[in-house]
């Protein structure tokens, strides 16, 4: 370890081995929560986005209502409704679901998943709708069925159009996950709040965690920039 870091660690009272370990636990929780909710959200969003583009109002209507409700209300309210509401469901405390939803992690995961799925559905829908008509006509002319067309033509090209907007959604989700600390989850923000109240050192505690979030954000931005370049490599100018 370089001398100046060792010196700095010795000098300050806030960032000791114990608090750094606490931050680490928080970091692990944040990453788990964000990664799982994004993964589950994407899995939910893909079929919903396809349903949302359906011509039948009986299929696209309910999906529209779902995305409208979840995008029009604050995530904090959704979290409160799920976190406080689940315990109120008649008889849930006798079923095995209660062993899962008693932990605050799972209601939060459910709220985050439903929220990100709503936004992701609209992102994917936008990308699907923007598919050039010629591509679909060509696929039809080749005799491709609807499912094959979806899988081989529409979805791959939609993925390219969606990746930029989706990267914003991922970063938004990382930042939104900070509210998990409100329902007693010790994520990064929760760890910072504990350390703040232990040492009454708001600047150390919150600026420290802000730097960590910023690092995570920049890593995500970098990864998505690489991904985007890969997905759009056929559009790069020659020699570029």
């Amino acid at each position: 370890m370089p001398d100046f870091i060792a010196q700095w660690l010795n000098q300050n009272e806030v960032f000791t081995a114990i608090t750094v370990a606490h931050y680490w636990d928080g970091l692990v929780t944040t990453v788990q929560l964000v990664f799982l909710s994004l993964l589950l959200g994407l899995m939910v969003a893909l079929p919903l986005a396809i349903m949302r583009t359906s011509k039948s109002p009986f299929i696209s209507g309910p999906v529209w209502l779902y995305t409208y409700l979840f995008r029009g209300t604050p995530l904090l309210i959704q979290l409160y409704i799920i976190y406080y509401g689940i315990a109120q469901i008649e008889g849930i405390q006798d079923t095995f679901w209660w062993t899962i939803f008693r932990e605050p992690f799972y209601p939060a995961l459910l709220a985050f998943t439903l929220n990100t799925a709503a936004y992701t559905t609209e992102i994917i829908r936008g990308a699907i709708v923007a598919t050039p008509v010629g591509e679909i006509e060509a696929a039809k002319a080749y005799g491709m069925s609807w499912a094959l067309r979806m899988r081989r033509i529409v979805l791959p090209s939609a993925a390219r159009r969606a990746v930029q907007a989706y990267s914003n959604e991922v970063i938004f989700m990382l930042h939104a996950s900070a509210i998990a600390s409100v329902v007693t989850i010790v994520d990064l923000t929760g760890a910072a709040r504990n350390i703040y109240s232990r040492f009454y050192a708001p600047f150390d505690a919150f600026i420290g965690v802000a730097v960590l979030y910023m690092l995570l954000t920049f890593i995500l931005v970098y990864v998505f920039r690489r991904l985007e370049r890969r997905l759009l490599r056929h559009q790069r100018p020659v020699g570029g």
């Binding site: 904090l76 900070a178 919150f206 802000a210 979030y213």
Partner: protein, 234 residues
């Protein structure tokens, strides 16, 4: 009819607090956005650097962390300044950093960064010829900004301002976490006391929905007005 068990009036007061908070933050965000965009488009390196640092920092940190930093850190900072002023000049002043002020400052600062990007794009969309023409007429820089740039960029900025406003409105819910008695806070306390979360949170969710839906209509109307006389392709 919906029976709110006597919490109706305080929920309504909370809703008014939410709306006040949102409007004040929006005003601050627009001012910061205009300043930020002007700095980014200036030829002064220090200004460009400062504005770029500002937008990058804000976009890297969660709203809630920033709010906690301002609320808890702001008070410590005010106390330190107050101590210093007392020792150095013998002037006694005290300033209570309440959740409302921290909320407006944080949300304004965060959305100022997003507004900076919105306004920057909108300013760039004003044709250079317009600015040259203003110069040719002998307009001063401020005059050009107020009479030529602002009216023409507003048309391009409106959709962005609308999106930011929708997100801002939902972000105001976070201020309940640092103790502001807005409608989310009232609903949370009522839900805990009455043990009926759905009864209180779902109406609050619908108030937010009504606010976002209402502003969507208003923005559409504004957009139509701002684009009056513009011929749009298909």
């Amino acid at each position: 009819m919906l029976d709110l068990k006597g919490y109706g009036p305080s929920l309504l007061e909370g809703a008014i607090v939410t709306v006040e908070l949102a409007f004040l933050s929006l005003a601050l965000a627009i001012v910061l956005g205009l300043l930020g965009a002007s700095s980014k488009l200036s030829s002064n390196r220090v200004l460009i650097g400062a504005a770029t640092t500002y937008t990058t920092l804000i976009r890297g940190v969660p709203d809630l962390v920033m709010m906690l930093l301002f609320f808890y850190g702001g008070q410590v900072l005010v106390n330190n300044i107050s101590d210093y002023v007392w020792e150095a000049y013998g002037i006694d002043f005290f300033f209570q950093f309440d959740p409302f002020i921290s909320g407006v400052l944080t949300i304004g600062l965060i959305f100022g960064a997003y507004m900076t990007e919105t306004f920057r794009g909108a300013f760039l969309a004003v044709p250079v010829g317009q600015i040259e023409a203003a110069k040719a007429y002998g307009f001063s820089r401020w005059h050009t900004f107020r009479r030529v740039m602002i009216p023409q960029m507003l048309r391009h900025a409106l959709p962005g301002i609308g999106n930011n406003w929708q997100v801002l409105l939902k972000t105001t819910a976070l201020v309940s976490i640092i103790g502001l008695t807005d409608m989310v806070r009232v609903a949370e306390e009522a839900a805990k006391a009455e043990r009926s979360p759905f009864l209180f949170f779902i109406p609050v969710a619908f108030v937010y929905l009504a606010l976002t839906a209402g502003s969507e209509l208003f923005i559409k109307w504004l957009d139509k007005r701002a684009n009056a006389g513009v011929v749009q392709g298909d």
